[in-house]
Symmetry: C2
């Protein structure tokens, strides 16, 4: 059983441009209730981690989102605002420095604010295993067992070296390397080998180990965040933050810490036994909404659930029938004929769907998206183009 206190860290960043126009710069993905549960992804993340925490989770977010994050945290988490985005390493390192100052032996666990995990019991078990390995000085990651040769995730390769007894007891495996998003061909090799796991950006490590190991490669970074942490609650807090933060190297935790430590045999992985989804685009979201676990806020067109839908119109069922499968989130009323589709209605307009197959419709006040889920990744091109078209107001 783990002995050191455990403090969750939740980096809440990223705009989720593959979910535009649901997610916007001002209202990014982690603040949204994407699956009709009644809770945002951030709120679900806090709720999932709270039972495991020995101190309130630390959410690190951009200054512009501080107020919204504090509102959703509702006193259940501490919120640290970054003056400007500097990628994941400075954010997590700052949280580690704040935790280390109060609980020098603490283990932190960093989990993105915008991922979905339904099986919280299995998640808790795996975190417990990771904590045990982390107490032994490892950087421990939770790796997702791949189900297909995904090219949108980085991979973690398990070492073929013998497993040390401390890891074996914890149920963790040594890691030989981290690999960035591969080509399709390489991803297929990875999948076939059985040695690779998806990198979901979940890291469990002693706060002090994180900072000390970071000092090996990038000394100014742990030094800077320790200075900021030391100044917190003093009259110099803001001054130090504004002086130090802009000087910190903008770098991801994978490059700054995980890869160098893996090369030195200091990384372990716990293969996750829980389900996981990064809800990376509308295809992933549609899969979530069509799964039996979809939240109560998701209405199925055709069911006796109060959806406005008239006699004689198909589109009913839960995926089993031939008539279609339409899931509706939000305020729109929907009629459908022979369609498999997902509708996010932010307006009260009546939406009619005819003959669609795998289409997502987002009906927002200022923008309308119609997307074929097989091309969900291409949405980023629309969002990047909005600036060029002088429509930053829509981003």
């Amino acid at each position: 059983m783990p002995e050191a206190p455990f403090v969750p860290v939740i980096p809440a960043g990223g705009s989720g441009s593959r979910l535009w126009p649901l997610s916007r710069r001002e209202r990014p993905k982690f603040l949204l209730d994407l699956t009709g549960t009644g809770s945002s992804l951030l709120e679900q993340t806090i709720e999932r981690l709270l039972p495991l925490a020995d101190a309130p989770p630390v959410v690190v977010t951009g200054a512009v989102h501080r107020a919204a994050v504090e509102e959703q945290a509702a006193g259940r988490a501490r919120v640290i605002a970054e003056p400007s985005p500097r990628n994941s390493m400075p954010a997590i390192a700052l949280a580690a420095a704040v935790v280390e100052r109060e609980m020098p032996d603490a283990v932190i666990g960093s989990f993105a604010a915008d991922h979905l995990v339904a099986d919280t019991a299995a998640f808790a078990e795996d975190v417990r295993a990771a904590r045990a390995a982390a107490e032994d000085g490892h950087l421990v990651t939770l790796g997702i067992v791949p189900t297909h040769p995904a090219t949108g995730f980085g991979y973690i390769e398990r070492s073929t070296a013998p497993v040390a007894s401390v890891l074996e007891r914890a149920g963790a495996l040594p890691v030989s390397r981290f690999v960035e998003k591969p080509t399709r061909e390489v991803a297929e090799e990875f999948l076939a080998s059985g040695r690779f796991l998806w990198n979901a950006g979940m890291f469990v490590v002693r706060a002090r180990v994180l900072l000390d190991e970071l000092a090996v490669q990038i000394p100014p970074l742990p030094e800077g965040v320790r200075r900021i942490a030391a100044a917190r609650g003093t009259a110099q807090e803001q001054e130090v933050l504004e002086e130090v933060w802009p000087s910190l190297l903008s770098i991801a935790i994978d490059h700054a810490l995980a890869e160098p430590l893996a090369a030195r045999g200091r990384v372990a992985v716990v293969p996750a036994r829980f389900d996981w989804d990064d809800v990376g685009d509308f295809a992933a979201l549609a899969r979530q909404l069509r799964s039996p676990a979809a939240g109560g806020g998701v209405r199925t067109v055709g069911a006796a659930d109060g959806t406005v839908r008239a006699e004689g119109v198909d589109g009913a069922g839960d995926g089993a029938g031939g008539g279609g499968d339409v899931r509706v989130l939000g305020t729109a009323t929907v009629d459908a004929v022979g369609s498999r589709a997902t509708v996010y209605g932010a307006t009260h307009r009546h939406v009619a769907l005819v003959g669609l197959d795998g289409i997502t419709v987002v009906d927002a006040e200022d923008a309308l998206l119609v997307l074929d889920e097989d091309h969900a990744q291409e949405l980023t091109r629309i969002v990047s183009a909005l600036s060029g078209a002088g429509r930053d107001d829509l981003r």
Copy 2:
């Protein structure tokens, strides 16, 4: 050359529920500028017929549409309002009676208010040919040479009997029968035989012949409309109209006149040399908008035409390119990636399309339609269902 005066008749009825939510009960298809020409289908019909007319065209429409029709007619046509809908025969017969009273020898030509004809010169030639045959006492129809085994139109079968010299001079052919919308199998036989034409509901006939022949089968109908016509402009006009109109048999001209006369060898057909489209659904409309003849109000996403569309986003071209083909009508701004689609934007929202193939989007203030053009006919099921769903406000 025809000698009798010619008066066009334009029945303006039908709601066009296959074009919902563009067309509504209050604003039916014939009042809409569907193709971005700047003129509604009714206005285009009036403009096409005016040069051929020896007296102002007579538009027969429902009382609820009278004001809108008079506004679009703008003094170029006479408008007769039906107190209630009674199908096409009473409407055309009433127009015939009004024309007969003023010009007893006149030939009328009845053309639907909501069809598209681009080649007006060829149309004028064919109407002239039909007039010549009509002066000889025939009911003359303009038949459309079929391009595919359509099941959505009635058919006209040419007789194999020898062509009378009067018809031969006019370029018309004797008709043996009218056939209602066939099954696919039958339509294929019709197409293969080379003897069948589509029935586009275009009839050219002397007003007096129409009424007299109608009297053979349904005496009260010509008697009634002649009474209404006689009362026009008198103090009894409204009284007679309200007394007689509800008593008239509700029947289509095909059944009331064309079929009985064909059986008696009194119908001729002029095979149309003009293009024709009844714009019967969104698939037909999409074909029109993607044709080179599409009106100037249609914007092509990707062309240098002022459409808001940013660098790096595909969706350009005129159908030739692989990137897509998106036509936009209305006020919406559109960005598209790899899509073949049609957008009718009645709002100022920004519309984004990703990976669509053959999709029509109608973005109205109160309703949103997303339709696969291969299933365009199924839209009627949505519209019929709106009443059942208590949404008559949307019809």
